[in-house]
Symmetry: C2
Subunit: 377 residues, 2 copies
């Protein structure tokens, strides 16, 4: 269990398989985000039809509502939300730092107020892992602290705390049917990142995550950190780039050796009437689409593009019909999932190098940055 098999590689790009109790993950993989135990507006059947395999859900949100013990009583996350395939839970750390207005961090943990009702709660590494053990995802995350990447002093403190918390998280973990991943921090400082990559890699985590990116640094800074970090990581463990990103980010990540991605962007854009397309990002509310009988993207073969015109989608948006969000979520998630699948196939076939440039060109109009995890999914 939790072994990573490297199937093929081209340059730093890897195609692999990660074995979990709920099935094999073909990597690289993009995980749709189901913050509150639902990928917004989609049924598990629709998600399955999209070819989704791994789904991310959120420890902070589910701890507060409906509660991890309730979910455990109901048979765990897989049964509760009816997702038979692998699930990943984050540690809740990012949300505690970004959603809670009042929070106090000390070396032991974080005290914070619920964004729902203002009640006071406390997360420690032990508590986060206990909650994640209750939720029952296949992949769980060590409790970490994400710093402002531009604040060097804070990045160093946060990284050191993250390392102590990684040890405590590993120690607190109780379930052999869950893989716990360690998280590398260190902001945009090469020295800190190298130190963190080596420290986390030295621990017996079955997978390694890179946190604290896509949170305020530039694209070049993100790429530099990835170029520095991934060569330091063990070959035989999956690498997860947390909260990233756009179609372009996925290509840049895979090219630098990343195996797992998650991002709220596809579903969040859908709620804002926006769609990825090979012509650049489209806002379907725009009046120019009122009589446009083309699909969102002629190159896309998702249910939405096979079935509906831009004119119909715009009508749904203008008429405030919720189906618009469902159909745009299907399209945007399909775009990401199809993109990682295409990259995987090209790595296996040895043609990945040839398609990077073309892929980056195709998706460059969709590259707008997003501070991904601050949104609720």
């Amino acid at each position: 269990m939790f072994e990573y098999d490297l199937i093929a590689r081209q340059g730093k790009a890897r195609a692999g398989v990660f074995h979990t109790p709920h099935g094999d993950l073909q990597t690289p993989v993009f995980a749709p985000v189901g913050t509150q135990a639902t990928v917004k507006t989609l049924t598990p059947d629709q998600l399955n039809d999209l070819g989704a395999s791994l789904v991310l859900t959120n420890t902070y949100h589910l701890y507060l509502r409906p509660g991890d013990e309730l979910i455990a009583e109901q048979g765990g996350l897989h049964q509760f939300m009816n997702w038979p395939n692998p699930i990943l839970t984050d540690s809740g750390g990012f949300q505690v730092f970004s959603l809670s207005k009042t929070r106090k961090i000390d070396n032991d943990g974080v005290t914070f107020k619920s964004h729902i009702d203002g009640s006071t709660h406390r997360f420690t590494p032990e508590r986060s892992i206990q909650i994640q053990n209750n939720l029952g995802a296949d992949i769980i995350m060590a409790f970490d602290e994400c710093s402002d990447p531009n604040d060097h002093t804070y990045s160093k403190i946060a990284m050191e705390r993250t390392h102590r918390w990684a040890e405590r998280s590993l120690e607190a973990h109780r379930r052999s049917d869950q893989a716990i991943f360690g998280i590398i921090q260190g902001g945009v400082d090469p020295e800190l990142r190298e130190k963190s990559a080596n420290f986390i890699s030295s621990m017996p985590f079955p997978g390694i995550a890179i946190g604290g990116l896509s949170v305020g640094e530039t694209k070049d800074e993100m790429h530099d950190i990835l170029d520095l970090v991934t060569p330091l990581l063990p070959e035989n463990k999956p690498r997860y780039l947390m909260g990233v990103g756009t179609p372009e980010d996925l290509i840049n990540g895979v090219a630098r050796g990343i195996d797992i991605f998650d991002c709220v962007l596809p579903t969040r854009l859908a709620r804002h009437n926006a769609a990825f397309s090979s012509e650049g990002r489209l806002n379907l509310m725009n009046a120019i689409f009122a009589r446009d009988s083309r699909p969102i993207d002629a190159l896309c073969d998702c249910y939405t593009c096979r079935t509906f015109t831009r004119a119909y989608l715009r009508h749904l948006i203008v008429a405030k019909e919720l189906l618009a969000g469902t159909l745009l979520s299907i399209h945007n998630l399909h775009t990401m999932i199809a993109l990682v699948n295409d990259m995987r196939n090209s790595i296996v076939e040895g043609t990945f190098d040839n398609i990077i440039g073309q892929g980056l060109l195709q998706w460059q109009g969709n590259a707008e940055r997003t501070n991904s995890k601050k949104d609720k999914g």
Copy 2:
């Protein structure tokens, strides 16, 4: 085309087939309401999986937004909303009378203000039919006036105007691939209803609708009117009871010879967190469901009941997740569609009389009245 074949009958209850350009309707049939060219929160695929055949859409709403000419340009309603099966459009009359704050009725037509932007518009029988010809549904409705059933004087005026408008609607109709149905009015007055039934039946409409019920009269009054009217109608045409109703109403309607029903109730209840069940109507927001691991209805085999617990549905509702509306719409529509299908089978098998009492008992807790069409679907 537009022939009605009577397959079986038991008492007044009928099982039949109505032939349309987009397929045969097995009657009795319940039509989900897709006010704005979408059955709220559901994809056509989901609707098809539910076994829906006929879908109702709304002339008033689609005329205002996105416009009937735009829909005609986009290939008509079937293509626009991707519903390959039969569609019915109402005449827009009911919405003009119920949604528009300022409206002036004269013998020629109705001038009204848009509920969207206050702009002034005018519907006449000719205009309503022209719009419905543009929309392109299989079944379209004569333009009628629905009165307050408790106002005898107004009911008589409205009925007489409805009769003149029926003649003008029939005269204005242009497309042989659309069936136009006449509408019986007359409030709760037996004399008016008898007169209207005879008048509309005498005209060459391929189908007959009963309007002006479920708009403020009692259940007994509705049943009395149906007992009076259906025996006056031609055997070889389908009978459509507009805007009705609850599961109990469907049983009472079929028992009195009705073939077609539509109602916003299943999808509207879903938006208010309510579900039909054989235990009575449930509001899934209720805290008693927080740890309830049963499906909504143990007797139901819809996707929602096969897949999700009450505890999960309550979590979605409390967390304001839109998937709740989708899953409850699936359940509530399935209930109505399965109910008419069961009734049809029992009529064919000659067992309908035996199941009426049991059916009414099963569904009595769901019988709350609704002023169906005033809601947007």
